[in-house]
Subunit: 411 residues, 2 copies
Amino acid sequence: MNAELIAVGTEILLGDIVNTDAQVISRGLSELGINVYYQTVVGDNPTRLERAIREAKDRADIIITTGGLGPTLDDLTKETLAKVFGKTMALHEPSLAHIKEFFQKIGREMTPNNEKQAWLPEGCTVFENKWGTAPGCGFEAGGKHVLMLPGPPRECTPMWEQCAKPYLYPLAGGCIVSRSVRVMGLGESAMEARLHDLMASMTNPTIAPYAKVSECFARVTAMADTEAEAEQMLTPVVQQVTDLLGADVYGIDVDSLEQVVGDTLRQRGMTLAVAESCTGGLLSKRITDLPGASDYYKGGVCSYTNEVKINLLGVQPDTLAQYGAVSAQTAEQMAAGAAQVFGTDIGVGITGVAGPDPSEGKEVGLVYISVWFQGELITRETRNSLGRDRVRNQAASNALDIIRRKLQGVL
Amino acid sequence: MNAELIAVGTEILLGDIVNTDAQVISRGLSELGINVYYQTVVGDNPTRLERAIREAKDRADIIITTGGLGPTLDDLTKETLAKVFGKTMALHEPSLAHIKEFFQKIGREMTPNNEKQAWLPEGCTVFENKWGTAPGCGFEAGGKHVLMLPGPPRECTPMWEQCAKPYLYPLAGGCIVSRSVRVMGLGESAMEARLHDLMASMTNPTIAPYAKVSECFARVTAMADTEAEAEQMLTPVVQQVTDLLGADVYGIDVDSLEQVVGDTLRQRGMTLAVAESCTGGLLSKRITDLPGASDYYKGGVCSYTNEVKINLLGVQPDTLAQYGAVSAQTAEQMAAGAAQVFGTDIGVGITGVAGPDPSEGKEVGLVYISVWFQGELITRETRNSLGRDRVRNQAASNALDIIRRKLQGVL
């Protein structure tokens, strides 16, 4: 079985956006053992789209398109695929109801052009869009399999995972199960070095290292006839990976560091507050990305001036004068201040130079992260010059990493 | 003139990496007025690579390849292009000298297979690689123009900018200019409905609608012989689009709502503080995503409990008891409290139910956004049930939208 991906969208050809859908789908197909021989990007142009589809029909068993399912005149993917594969279009009532409901939910009137999104090739398997309006679908025609997914990554990725991948299982001739061993405090190449011998000795399950912002993970993937069999193959290998990586592993198949920290705090009945300077609310935002964070999170202060540090957090003016706002001493007083003001078990203080310009004569990327943990202060100094976003994200991750290690007793 | 990009690399087809070279080159071609009709990705396989090249030769004036110029056996781009275009390969001595020098510099021995990188199609223009080893090149054959660039982005991007783009100048003969009209307070389909007649009546400039989280934009693109001419064609159409969309337009060619708000505050010497409940720091994070936000942003409080709302922001216990934490009254006291605590011209208060569970018997997605603007209170109630992330992002965007409208005098 081989597949070809066709992304439909002039915005990719203009370089406005990068085709990340192709990466997500290609990785998934690779795990399913389906080869991708070509990825194509074509604009919202009926003639060229048809040419790309005919070419793919000629050389691939499976064609997966992304984009061009929307309500506007230049969204042509469904119509063109239907034409090439001799399918007629029909109104899919449940999808229309879903679109109407979507507009009701967001409190906007549904313009008539939105109905177009509910027209699908007759007899197809509909992929309900729980993340937007345009449904996706899959059908078989003339021995070829065609799948259509929406373009926006926030819709495409979950629809691929939850609808399209399971649709392909019977074609892949097997079942895939993966585990992600999540790591913070170790770079991707250092992780790979530790896992190298084990990786080299394996073909199924496979072990693949991936880098994420401020952290990385190892994905262990097994392929077998049944899910139970794949699970059985995974368990010992995941254990070996975890043993090799030690205390830098913060969880397996967890969503994020904030989730591990949040779940542990909830279990122990502990509470948290934060004081942020250079991260400007990012850590608070990440903590509250999780539903139910109010079980353990009391709140935070973003102190973007010295006055706020003094008046709201109780940082000593002397400390600011002597060591500066970007210092371990200020971070520690912010951490203690947050815990005191909010009356929590744990307080975080973050202060640093996010850039792009230095501050107080201190270099861009210098950040102090302090955690007040039931009376004990743990402080880290970090440096990185990877740009404002990464400096801020790494600082927030370091705060969570300190708390995680304290909670798990590995610090 | 139209171009086709071919990226050569199995790692893209496996989903290990994303094809960012295509974005960089497409954007540059668009600026040069060269249309990109297709982007293709193909693996390190001679048959399929040859098929992709023949296809591109048939439909494009310019073919630009990335990748497959390296020293290993599966680097086949040059050889395959030379075959399809009937060119012979020749050793390019200066490139060989450069490669030898490169290995000397990094203190490694040059293995014999590296010489392969110095073999290029006879008579081509060589693009010296100052960022790695494999040179790129360009040649003309049978009325088609072929350019080859290395795959790694750190080599591809500078070689594209410094060598390939200037190589293409004589061919471009035309120029494209775009403007993005940014909109908040109108959905993509409603925007398209307003622009529909104008869009349908235009071929150059073109108007294309795009959706973003909580907002959307219309891109107006003109093609002409010179930049000045394209600009001249754009101006009246951008004006028509802006007139049709009215006060919902927050800027043209700006990065974000937070940028428009931030720049205006800086110009006027005004200051801002926020009090966030359901958005949990997201608005503060978005404001401080921009360097230099400390010019106008003093800080924020994330109040995740009633005690914090009372003690830090001065919300009246009676108000919380009578109307609840999720109410217009509470939002207004949070907004006024933020402005007072931080001593700013503008204060924001956001309180709502981000979900997934209701709170105080109030439905998920109900959010109150209040802005205290130099003594005046403006409050919005919004409802949307698109999930926690979108509820939070929409709330933060609404706060910025209220401030923007007040600053621009359209509210």
